[in-house]
Amino acid sequence: MAPRLVPITAGLVVCGLTLGPLFALIAHAGIGGSLLAADWAALRFTVMQAAVSAVVSVILAVPVARALIRRQFWGRGFVLALLGAPFILPVIVAILGLLAIFGQNGLLNIALAEIGLPKLSIYGAHGVILAHVFFNLPLAVRMVLFGWQAIPAEQVRLAHSLGLARWTFFQVLEWPMLKRVLPSACAVIFVICLSSFAVALTLGGGPKATTVELALYQAFRYDFDFEKVAMLGMVQMGLSLGAAMIAISVRVPVVGQGLDRSISLGDTSWPVAVWDAAWISIALAFLGLPIASVVVDGIGGLWDLPKSVWPALGRSLWMALISSALAVALGAALASRTGEILATLAISMSGLVLGSGLFFFLRAWVNPFDFALFVTVLMNALMSVPFVVRILRPTCEATAQNYGRLARSLGLGWPAWGLWVALPRMRRSLGFSLGLSAALSIGDLGVIALFGSAETATLPLVMYQLMGSYKIEAASGAALLLMMAALGLFMVFDRWGQNARA
């Protein structure tokens, strides 16, 4: 319903901010350098782990999301909020949380020893995939949940009154939705995992688990080989765009029309209830235990926190608010098929490519290091856009399909459409998008590591500084504070969305 100008402008902004720096980098340094044997091995491993992580996350997300939409239980809201947590944890915190459960002396190995079984080692390709599923399963679950919520309740009731068998019901209503949501979720997770670095290396157990991002880091930090940085940036972009293209090539019509009544998939038979309960418990244990260990480790450290965490927290909070507003504005404008591809650009390239490219681009006019916080806000917003687009798109399209004709026949203008039709119906997914992008932004170290300085330290940076000064206990406290701030922001927005009357 929006005038064409809006998505076009948003598309140009996203392209400009991603391709712009890349081209500036190429213009400055050229593009070249050769891929060594080690680089090829890294490329193979990168694609393999990203593909497996994405597919596993998405496959597991289906039964978990289905269980969550079918069951109403005490604490369901809390479980849904918890599902947002892994995604926003700083990498090192998440790794330590996972190791508390799956590590050498983690709970799992203690339990195995109790019953006389040998130790399991998390280190290896399976550990990398485990960690990536930990990070991304929650995201996949929420994306699938939104897909289910977008199925009109009328159709579900019609299906029930026709007495459709469970399998037919799945084929007619659920499968088309999954076919639309899953490839897109899969693509975005694949792209995130492509740029994995610290997780892959640490849990991969050694140089076998080298990713392209490490080669990039090496070229940037040690060799100052910007030609190679540009080339590796192009490789990352090519892989990401490829994945996004494949995902949207699965063309599925939007499922029917309805009058936005809430869906009820209630199934009262007890085997189904047990099945659902099992999936919810597994997800809760897998995602909740590492988080619980972050909480336990951090509580003691909360009292050791230096006073500089408070201004850092304040800075992180307002930066998160601005960048989430930006991300949602851009994401809403781009909630379409083409938008999905464009938005993927934003997470396809390493922060190092964007950061150094932006530098070459801006330095003719200003010193980008003077704008550390501004650049960070912008970059964080950009990084969230692909998620926002994917979360908003199903509801956005369903709303347009259901009410578009009515609105046109009424001659409803764009502002009225937005205010009275789109906003109330999209509030749930908007709230989630705002919460997710705010939380993502607050937990991100991103380009601040390249551009940051003492006066502009954000909370994640303070946490890393504490670790770097042996203050591990205080760093755990800072990590907990960070998680609480991120979850707090996330819950405030998400709650606003859940209160949608529609």
Binding site: L201, G204, P306
Partner: protein, 323 residues
Amino acid sequence: MKTLTLAAGLLAATSVVADTPVLTVYAPDYFTSEWGPGPSIEEAFEAQCNCDLQYSAGDLLPRLMLEGDKTRADIVIGLNTDVTAKARASGLFDPHAQDNTALDLPVEWGDDVFLPFNWSYVSFVYDATKITSPTSFEDLAKIDGKIVIQDPRSSISGLALVLWVKAVYGDQAEEYWARLAPKILTVTKGWSEAYGLFTSGEAEVVLSFNTSPAYHIVAEEDTTKQAAIFSEGHYPYFELVGKVASTDQPELADQFMAFVLSDAFQSLIPFTNWSYPAAQPVSEWPEAFQVLPRPNAAVMYSEDEAEAIRKQAIEEWRRALSR
């Protein structure tokens, strides 16, 4: 428009308020944080210079290379020996103009561009409640425990280890790595991740520095974390300061370089940076540092040797650990 206001605010905040000359020092994040050496060094220097010392924290050399001679930096502090060849070749630094004989180091210091301000030995730190101290690389390959090291491609201490092994084993380095491989639990991106894994009990041994135990002894009264001293000698690790050639405050910059070697500066190092001061004899170190075990020899490549051997040594490491 909020972002524009913000940008303008940031710009205003960085411009100079009074006429006091400003010395801009690029330093790593850990250095400028309130528990790092930065704040007390700033205070001590400002007391004598009638100037305003301002830190700008972040990545040092990549940033300097990006900015070129347009940089506002007058001084860069916290460089490591692994990047000095690149830094020197860039021509962005002036000679430090200090007398190297003021230094008290385990090696002869002939560099007239980069001045070390603190140092320690790269060492394996172990949990003494779980294993007995290995006393050589051969011992290390036989310990009853697991080791976490850093990746030489992303971490300076990781690179120092690879050079250390190469210096000790020469042509047999790859073969040694293959023997050590089963003991290596994992390889991390940087020091923080590795040390975090170690303190959380995931591994018994971590690649760190021989001065690391000082932190645990002094700040935590914990004597269970100790550095293993190897009979082959250890690779020293220096942190360096350099004077930027394009500085608009050459006199202040010289004054700062001289200040680095003064007792006022050097005495701040041990308890803020947990390493040895570079220009003080052992007898003037705090007692906690004097009593730390030290190796009896330093093994180290010269800058040119290290630069020539680096790629090959890393590739040997990678091949041996990828099997």
